[in-house]
Amino acid sequence: MAGTALRGRLSPRPLLWQVAKVLAVAIETASVRTIMLDVPDWPGHQAGQHVDIRLTDGDYVAERSYSIASAPGEPVALTVERIDDGEVSPYLTDELRAGDDLELRGPIGGYFVWEPKDGGPLLLLAGGSGIVPLRSILRHRQRTGSTVPVRLLYSSRTLDDVIYRGELDKPAAGVEVFHTLTRHQPPGWSGYARRVDAALLAEVAWPAGMTPLAYVCGPTNFVEAVSQTLVQSGYPPQRVKTERFGGTGGT
């Protein structure tokens, strides 16, 4: 990087690994768990941030990132989807119990975050477990008394795969929740029943003229398709924040 100007911003806090204690594990769906943690040295987080989790087995170390599901001010909670051939998630969803230790570092990231001062209207687009950081944003909005209007479009395979279903069935004032079920719909289903496409976004998304702020999170192919469609419909790229999980699962 010859000639590169590297202007380091001094951080008040190094990002150190620390040991958290598992307070409880809650079942969200057949493959998804929410892990409530007591993190002794937690500086507080912003809605949309994540942590790195480190599992160690002898000399072998595996690290993964997981979004924080709880709002700032709430105890740290991570919602984890089991990836069947994953190295880390099956341990977190199947083995971890209250009282166990878990090594993590965080909070991490300043890009995919929302604060009430960022305004809106907010368009939240989730594919599968991409709902997790958006749930933190929703809770943060409610806890801070923000009245920013929100539309959430959440794509899941089936109704049984919908995470935080009870919570999303009772949205706060000013929050509209739209579901689409891409693989199977229960009898009488009144929501959408296909992958998120331009026509669906045209129905659900705020018009670009309202200068909305969009957060898109989910599997990489979901995020690519949705964010490109939003930009084509007039959303400025800098108003479309993305967080790709990689892989293809979940929507």
């Binding site: 990087m1 590169t4 100007a5 590297l6 202007r7 380091g8 911003r9 001094l10 951080s11 190094p14 990002l15 994540h50 942590v51 790195d52 690290e63 990132s65 570092r105 965080g106 991490i108 990231g109 300043g110 890009y111 995919f112 599997p219 990489t220 192919n221 993305t242 967080e243 790709r244 999980f245 990689g246 892989g247 293809t248």
Partner: protein, 81 residues
Amino acid sequence: MDAVDGNAIGGLLHEVFGSEMTTTVSICGTCGTARQVGELAVYAHAPGTVVRCPSCDNVLMVFVKIHDRTCVDLMGLAALG
């Protein structure tokens, strides 16, 4: 292999640079596009972690962990910060 966002390696970047980096602006050395690091395309499953420009696909940064050391290559960047 599917890319993730620069945001996903916020922890690694903090470890290397000593501060939060995902909102830092990077400028691609090939096409000159300025983007926040959180927006860059990251291929985490390559041997090491490869960060590319989403506009022109140029390799901007490469991080390779060997035991407890991280080797950092920033040759593709024109500027960071």
